[in-house]
Subunit: 160 residues, 2 copies
């Protein structure tokens, strides 16, 4: 019952991109992976998926990078989640066919669970990247606290 790490990485990256570039400048996978301690190969693949699906735009080559493909209020959480992890499925038995879970013919919760899934999907659909940005005020106080940066600088032995 967790979002996958990849989805977290996607959201971290997109939030950062929204703050940094404002749709204009490019951000590289490498810089993001450094800043947020995300394995670069994984982050790259995540960003590539988001690009293929049309949430990001990419530019190849030595001056390349990524940028948001749409305004922040037009990117909702459901698209992000489904871009990375595939179609939302809260239970095993809602694939369209009558029921293919282990309890097949006897499953008694298929229809109700479908309803719950629809509700959750709707919730994710109503939350946009913009909502995330407006809700992260509290984080700034410590994310950009200089003491923390110094601590990390020491920790990893390099400038951030």
């Amino acid at each position: 019952m967790r979002f996958s790490k990849k989805v977290e990485y996607a959201l971290i990256a997109m939030v950062e991109m929204a703050q940094q570039s404002g749709y204009s400048e490019l951000v590289t996978a490498r810089s993001l992976s450094k800043e947020y301690r995300i394995p670069p190969e994984i982050l790259s693949k995540v960003l590539q998926k988001l690009t293929r699906i049309g949430l990001l735009q990419s530019v190849q080559g030595i001056k390349g990078g990524y940028t948001l493909a749409k305004p922040v209020d037009q990117i909702n959480l459901l698209e992000v989640v489904e871009s990375i992890d595939g179609p939302l499925r809260l239970v095993a038995c809602n694939t369209g066919r009558p029921c293919d879970c282990e309890q097949f013919l006897f499953c008694n919760i298929q229809t109700p669970m479908q309803y719950i899934q629809d509700e959750f999907a709707q919730l994710l659909r109503t939350i946009t990247l913009k909502d995330l940005l407006t809700r992260m005020k509290g984080d700034f106080t410590w994310v950009y606290d200089q003491k923390n940066f110094n601590k990390i600088d020491k920790l990893v032995g390099q400038s951030v």
Copy 2:
């Protein structure tokens, strides 16, 4: 991003118990596990957890079994899920402490994700066992289709 099998088993069992007993008669783990093809040891442990948390009542001994401890409209999904899987946590970094995810001091989505989790928890809190029961009308048409029962009878080589 799935409910665990154990949570599914819990819901299947509780829905069945609500239909069968109407709070009076006892249902055994064994009969449920047979009817829904759930490994009996697992189902037992699930029902035991639900009992400890107070959602079911149990009676030990040879005539024992389980029954719902509360009316169906007073059992919500959040209690069921948290009884089985522990506190709801959609992301790694909302444990109360500032942030203990891999991106620790740099995580920029902690607060927004907490908000999403709260919204989802509220959704689960508003859905009761009664809602599940009223939404499963569609299932009856095939769950109780005699042809299916015959098919299963042949499949497992015993009366159901």
